[in-house]
Symmetry: none
Subunit: 419 residues, 2 copies
Amino acid sequence: MDVELITVGDELLLGFTIDTNAAHLARELAAIGIGIRRRGTVGDVAEDIATAVREALDRTGAVITTGGLGPTSDDLTKPSIAAIFGRGMRRDEEHVAWMEQRWQQRFGRKMPESNRAQAMLPEGARKLTNNHGSAPGIWLEDDRGRWVAMLPGVPREMRGMLADTLLPILQQRVSRDGHPTVVRSRTLRTTGVAESLLADQIDPIRESLGPISLAYLPAPDGVDLRLTIRGVDAARADGILDAASSVIRDRLGRSIYAEGSTDLAEVVLDRCRALHLTIAVAESCTGGLLGARLTAIPGSSDVVLGGIIAYANDVKRDLLGVDQQQLDAHGAVSEEVVRQMAEGARARLGASIGIGITGIAGPGGGTPEKPVGTVWVALAHEQETRALQLRLIGDRDEVRRRATQSVLELVRRTLSEKD
Amino acid sequence: MDVELITVGDELLLGFTIDTNAAHLARELAAIGIGIRRRGTVGDVAEDIATAVREALDRTGAVITTGGLGPTSDDLTKPSIAAIFGRGMRRDEEHVAWMEQRWQQRFGRKMPESNRAQAMLPEGARKLTNNHGSAPGIWLEDDRGRWVAMLPGVPREMRGMLADTLLPILQQRVSRDGHPTVVRSRTLRTTGVAESLLADQIDPIRESLGPISLAYLPAPDGVDLRLTIRGVDAARADGILDAASSVIRDRLGRSIYAEGSTDLAEVVLDRCRALHLTIAVAESCTGGLLGARLTAIPGSSDVVLGGIIAYANDVKRDLLGVDQQQLDAHGAVSEEVVRQMAEGARARLGASIGIGITGIAGPGGGTPEKPVGTVWVALAHEQETRALQLRLIGDRDEVRRRATQSVLELVRRTLSEKD
């Protein structure tokens, strides 16, 4: 079963609100085997809502809308769609009574008049219970079985109604239509390898991956590979994805650091935990970003001791023990300094692993020899300190983000040699 | 002028990626008086791309797409749209040469074969320069003046190409079409004041704000007020927004910390710079987040010296000089400890201002006396150290984010007393 999704609202169309409902709906529907074929957004304009829904109904006969159910005059979804079905609007007195009671109980006051509009429903509509707000959702269906489900736009209400009411209805329809099929995906994460190089490695074995679709998703942190299978039942989908993942893992080896949405920092922490290692950081251009990323993960305190944000050179010297002569001779962005930073963090905090980062994040500070994006990272562990020079692209945020990703990858690769 | 927007990609349709490009495009286009009438998303399916673009062209004659320009086989935007215009594809040898040179210079190696696909262009297409990646954008126009602009899906590349290349082209078209009206917005930022309290203050003066629409936008960092005016020319729009902002500023006073998208950290840095003050941080539960946020701002190095990430208690003691007795008696999340952290950071780094943060970010670690969300922050400056206990709501990320926002606001308010 395929549905189309239409999100309604000027705020969405004007770009002031990012549409997170659409993504949530897509994931939830995929899990029960319903695909979203197409998605659209229109503003709070009755004619545009009606046109978009009519076109979508003609294509798939199954439409979910979000937004435009509120009490204010710009909420036009219900009457626009009722008109498509040739239905009038009527007031649902039961719902008025429920809302009046709710206002009294919740807020200890009389319901504002403007809320009455929320009880106006298309004739023949089925109400979808809203356990998180006062606007009911609506299910409207014609005698040919074509339907529109209207959900609220407020994410919390939409999510609640979807889980409590709409998904069970759709689940039933999917089962009724026979053996249910699903859409399942799996993500394999890589970092430090260009999209086109991954493609060059995978192209020769593409055929052996079976009937999956394969997407390359490049981002500043690396390229994710997403494998998707649709149109088969759940058990078969998992089997096909297992087989395909295994072929790709064999091919790419250590380039894959995780599955799903797992952050590289989490992989590094798990590895350190297993080896009983602790981490201390020494950050210059990233200014705490690596520490923040590591400690964003619950339970990181058994690995991360802390670190020193050595933004000024005096701090590198006084708190990390970097030689003033090295700073003078090579500059703060140099192999000599990053090694002493990593070693200094390790020694001062008494950690197993010291990590150092120093670089030029931009936009200013670049020179012909050390352009913006020049970053040195280092890892001090046991008897050895490894340093690596990076030439990173992107703006200040991206250079900083890529620098943390690169040094985490250096740690992961170094520790994986210990297998 | 109205355009339609079509974003392409399975990952968008499947809900794995939130579509931020659409919102960015909408805002940038609105600023030059172009409205987005409707927006759609389709997967990586040639037929769906072609159908959606053809329908949109029939409605508005002006379409912008994002996504599907990469080198891999799931990138189908170009040929699908070329077919609508009845154009074939040809290889742009100039672009191949440019990419080969770029690979050699940037990565010191030969360009992978799969990148060649990025040089395939529809016949008669105009290239849109990509200063942030290797896929060119494409402008395709027919003899009736109907056009499609194809932009990459990677946000950084899309944003760069929009600003560098597409907006100037569209700006020219809009001017050619006669006297343009615009949609302009202005945002006033507040933090630490509830939405309903702001509304209570503004309601009595709402009438005097003129013909603007006013939205309250609550977020973890505070409530933004957005003023929007539409349907007038640029000069008049600015005048109306200036007047309304000024009325609101008079009313709310110091509650407004910035306009637009300016981060509170930037406000604090500017204030410190003006007063010739330097900052050192001591972070426990935020693990470097405050340092990262301050140093995210270009030019922060003349204010921020660095700091100490004191995640483990030993680090609080050894590197910040916190008394072991205080740690034992009151715990790491206490007024006594946060004061010593702020003072320790100030003394050890020789800064004018020391900032301390210690708390329980969750999900674990809470107790009945100190539940998750309990955070102590402190500011050491001159002879005085101010400490503040916070009870923050939200998950781990939100608690950490809110803690940095709260301490920055403490610094801002403290320094503003010096006026």
